[in-house]
């Protein structure tokens, strides 16, 4: 069943890709010109047509001139509505704003500016991703509106909103006009930060008190690594032991010359994603405490450094770690 749903989604994607084949992903700004606006009757449009047919039959049956007149007026009005619905989208300019990276499990916000260069207010517009909830908005005459699409970031890596659908059925609801917006845009999703002691339980759940942040010696907590012979039992992470059955050592303080190495190999063995999450947590912790930290990952070593840019580099590396090339920028 799920496979079927997925397939249908993919089919739809491909159909839209075919329809919009001449519309390459745009950089920043898209203008809705005549050839990229599509229009079809709504369900209400078909109902209206049916009612017109009944009216026409009544007019013929009673040979009622005014009934003919009104039926024809409404028919012409309905056809005219098609044009006005189309015009409601025509000429709008949509500009994407840069999106901020998020952590997995958070909501990514994609912000667009919709600009209306014409002299009439565009109303009843909706913007949505292929499977998201539509966001309603209006754009005043010679004005612009910010529209924010919230997309749940479920997995780390790159999140693309894909094709967007800008649509509306104003002014009569008989037709819906829409356009596919395809921006070349993405946002990076960092791994979800996961403290060591909140790792998925393997054995019984520990209902212990809140995690101690500092060691009795007063030194700052700096990370966790696997147990090595010779480590002090005072630094054993007992809660992690209870949960995982493995021995971990909490690291504290300026371990070597004011620098911390956040080392992949020191992480408890286990699921790749969980280990990345733990690493992410450690990066955030280190940054929060203003430490100089370095990142040691398989195939990469980032020299210890401080600052936002360094943290971002680390997080970006974690976000894309071991993902196929096309999933990363």
């Amino acid at each position: 069943m799920k496979a079927l749903v997925l397939d249908r989604r993919r089919l739809r994607e491909r159909a839209i890709a075919w329809i919009t084949r001449r519309q390459l992903p745009e950089g920043r700004t898209l203008r809705l010109h005549r050839r990229c606006i599509y229009i079809l009757p709504t369900r209400q449009g078909y109902t209206f047509a049916l009612i017109l047919l009944v009216m026409l039959l009544g007019a013929i049956n009673y040979s009622n001139s005014m009934a003919f007149m009104l039926t024809f007026l409404l028919a012409a009005l309905g056809a005219n509505a098609m044009w006005h619905t189309h015009r409601n989208l025509l000429g709008l300019r949509v500009t994407r704003r840069p999106a901020q990276p998020v952590f997995a499990g958070q909501t990514a916000q994609f912000v667009y500016t919709v600009e209306n260069p014409s002299r009439v207010t565009r109303r009843g517009l909706l913007l949505e991703t292929l499977d998201g909830t539509p966001v309603p908005f209006d754009v005043g005459a010679r004005d612009e509106t910010q529209v924010t699409l919230d997309l749940p970031a479920r997995r780390r890596g790159v999140l693309r909103p894909g094709r967007l659908r800008l649509h509306g059925r104003y002014p009569m609801g008989l037709f819906r006009a829409w356009s596919w917006l395809h921006f070349d845009e993405s946002v990076l999703v960092y791994p979800k930060p996961l403290p060591m002691d909140q790792a998925p339980p393997f054995a019984g759940q520990d209902e212990g008190e809140s995690r101690e942040r500092t060691d009795p010696a007063g030194e700052e907590f700096a990370g966790v690594r696997g147990y090595q012979p010779g480590d002090s039992p005072r630094h054993l992470d007992w809660k992690a032991l209870a949960r995982t059955g493995d021995l971990y050592i909490k690291q504290f303080g300026e371990v070597s010359g004011g620098q911390v190495w956040l080392d992949w190999d020191q992480l408890p063995a286990g699921d790749l994603e969980i280990r990345l999450s733990m690493m992410c947590h450690q990066v955030l912790q280190a940054q929060a405490q203003g430490l100089r930290f370095g990142l040691r990952m398989p195939g990469l070593e980032l020299e210890p450094d401080t600052g936002e840019a360094h943290q971002r580099r680390c997080l970006e590396y974690l976000a894309c770690f071991a993902l196929p090339a096309d999933a990363c920028p």
Partner: protein, 662 residues
């Protein structure tokens, strides 16, 4: 019961109060049904509208499903009780109006509200099944406008639309729809209705001549000043005394009631277009639910879809259910039926054996005195004229033998009494005779150049058959009340207290009212002729007048599509022109034009050549052009690199360009 979250697009826009607009529009649409439906139908619906309005404003709760089901059953029952059916025009409209109100009471979503708006359009159209007059049409235009504005608002989304914008857009869209409406109205292939059985109640209170005549049947029509038909003549209208409009002819008498014989079809009479007695005209006949067509005495042409009967009146193939227009020719100088067959003579002489014995005796006495038919007829008319006969709308009731009682006791009556008695007397005297019903007279509307004949102009007269002269019209009413024929029914009855109000009132009012009535009726005349009577026949006529000849339905549809396409193209062109992209750099355009102009003279600017250098080169090669080219280039450079956009100097630049003619 779990309520699934409503999709955004199904939600009713709450803040803009679109639903209140829908409620108001429905209110506007149902009000005219107060005239056509029992008051409770409209009142119940208004209450439902008010209730839903109260819900919207948060004052009232939404009715529960049970209440709605109960109300639906109750209303259906009431309609069934009132009309005895749920079908047909009146019951159907009552149900539609009531159910629109009830639908509104359960309206929670956008989809429901849209359906209510569509029902509103339907309610508007049903009003036309009751009245198609101009005031009704204007009111319905307002109703359509209001409903469309509500529809626009309903679709405007969550933002609050200013009322002016809702109305403005509705008006704009309706206005743009008008040309296409006119094309569709004129060219959409019309079928002669009805498609299915016409419900009995579809035409209410239609008055007109009846298919029989008994005492009182015509005086009933006198109560109505509704128009019967209107006539516009190709040339001069005939004199008032000649305005006899021929309707059904009655030859069968049972002692009280006159009836028509079989409607045997005969050929149209010879037209002889050059003779003096020929009158051609166009007649707009109001619907009267019967098949005969009125015509000036005696019609010689037969309109399409109609026949001429043996008694020389016109019968249409179908009852006249809507206003019809037909062109006719009549002749006043015709000899009708020069030879009377034996069977028809017998028919035109037959009298029930025991009917009107005193009248029969009187006629036989006259016959004994006058050998000539002519003198006998004169004697009979003299009898009506000299004996104390009165012309009145309120004659005493005639019971046993109406003819004898009228002739010898009451001596007061209306045209049908005189015509009936006269024909009985003639038949008793051995002269073939029959009753003709129709209308006599009419008011001439100088404004619209047509003759208006009202129901109150209904009349009955006699025809006698004379050797060598055929059927000759004799109007015994003229012998009693000549002013009826000369001046019309209003004058004739002005002293009669039994006359309807409108007849007496019309004499009191002065010229102002007369003028106003002329205007109003002229407008009605064109309205009914060009709009209400527009059917298959008018359509054909119009196409022929446009020089398109006879188009079949395929031709009409093609023409219709082409014309609509043309309208759409015009609109598109106007739109594109208004929204054309501004020229990116008008200055560059002018300079390019300058270069093209010189290039034609062999002076091509090299791509790398700056304007000033180019101008200098031209001055060398073509000294004659030096001055204007230098002036142009100076101005161009000044505008390009110096003063910003200056429309006035830009115009000067164009002027300078025009001076360069290599």
């Amino acid at each position: 019961m779990s309520v699934a979250p409503m999709r955004l697009e199904d939600r009713l826009p709450a803040r803009s109060g679109a639903l209140l607009w829908v409620i108001a529009a429905i209110g506007v649409a149902i009000v005219p049904h107060l005239f056509n439906q029992p008051v409770w139908v409209v009142l119940t619906t208004v209450l439902a509208l008010a209730w839903r309005g109260g819900v919207h404003l948060g004052r009232l709760p939404m009715p529960s499903r049970w209440i709605l089901v109960l109300l639906t059953i109750l209303m259906t029952g009431l309609v069934l009780g009132r009309y005895g059916t749920l079908f047909g025009r009146d019951a159907g409209v009552a149900l539609l109006v009531l159910m629109t109100g009830l639908k509104l009471l359960e309206t929670r979503t956008y989809r429901d509200a849209m359906l209510v708006v569509f029902l509103g359009y339907f309610v508007i159209i049903t009003n036309f099944f009751y009245s198609q007059e101009i005031p009704a049409a204007l009111y319905m235009l307002v109703a359509v406008f209001a409903t469309t504005a509500a529809l626009v608002r309903l679709n405007a989304g969550e933002g609050v639309q200013p009322a002016r914008e809702s109305f403005g857009l509705a008006g704009l869209m309706l206005g743009q729809a008008v040309p296409v409406m006119i094309i569709l109205f004129l060219l959409f292939p019309r079928l002669p209705g009805p498609l299915w059985g016409m419900p009995q109640d579809s035409t209410t209170g239609v008055t007109g001549l009846s298919d029989s005549m008994s005492p009182g049947s015509i005086s009933e029509l006198l109560q109505s000043d509704a128009p019967a038909f209107r006539v516009s003549f190709t040339d001069e209208p005939p004199a008032p005394a000649q305005r006899y409009w021929r309707g059904p002819v009655f030859a069968h008498f049972d002692g009280r009631t006159w009836r028509a014989g079989r409607e045997t079809e005969i050929d149209a009479l010879p037209l002889l277009p050059d003779t003096d007695g020929m009158v051609t005209y166009t007649l707009n006949l109001e619907p009267h639910e019967r098949r005969w067509l009125l015509a000036l005495d005696v019609p010689v042409a037969v309109p399409p879809d109609a026949r001429m009967t043996e008694d020389h009146y016109l019968v249409a193939d179908r009852p006249v259910r809507r206003l019809v227009q037909y062109s006719l020719a009549s002749r006043t100088d015709l000899i009708l039926e020069p030879e009377l067959s034996e069977a028809r003579r017998r028919q035109a002489l037959s009298l029930p054996a025991r009917a009107a014995p005193r009248a029969q005796a009187l006629a036989q006495a006259w016959r004994a005195q006058h050998e000539e038919d002519d003198t006998l007829i004169q004697a009979a008319l003299r009898h009506f004229n000299e004996e104390p006969f009165f012309y009145t709308l309120s004659p005493p009731r005639l019971e046993r033998d109406p003819v004898d009682q009228f002739l010898f006791e009451a001596r007061a009556g209306f045209c049908e009494h005189y015509a009936s008695a006269f024909v009985v007397l003639m038949r008793a005297a051995g002269i073939p005779a029959r009753v003709v019903t129709g209308y006599q007279g009419g008011e001439y509307n100088r404004l619209g150049n047509y003759l208006l004949v009202r129901q109150s102009d209904a009349h009955a007269w006699a025809e006698v058959w004379l050797e060598g002269r055929g059927w000759v019209r004799v109007d015994p009413t003229a012998a009693v009340a000549p002013e009826r024929i000369e001046q019309g029914i209003r004058i004739a009855l002005s002293g009669d207290l039994g006359a309807p109000d409108f007849i007496r009132r019309s004499l009191d009012w002065g010229m102002v009212r007369l003028q106003w009535e002329l205007w109003r009726d002229s407008i009605d005349y064109y309205w009914s002729g060009w709009v209400l009577a527009f059917g298959p026949e008018r359509q054909e006529e119009l196409l022929e007048r446009l020089g398109l000849g006879r188009l079949d339905w395929r031709g009409m549809i093609t023409l219709m599509v082409v014309l609509i396409g043309a309208v759409v193209l015009v609109f598109a062109a106007v739109f594109l022109w208004r929204n054309r992209l501004p020229v990116a750099d008008p200055l560059a355009v002018v300079y390019r034009r300058f270069c093209r102009r010189l290039a034609r003279a062999g002076l091509t600017r090299a791509p790398h050549e700056p304007p000033m250098d180019f101008a200098r080169r031209i001055a060398r090669e073509r000294p004659d052009l030096a001055e204007p080219v230098a002036a142009f280039t100076r101005e161009y450079v000044a505008l390009r690199y110096g003063a910003g956009p200056d429309p006035e100097r830009f115009g000067q630049l164009r002027g300078l360009l025009r001076r360069i003619n290599p």
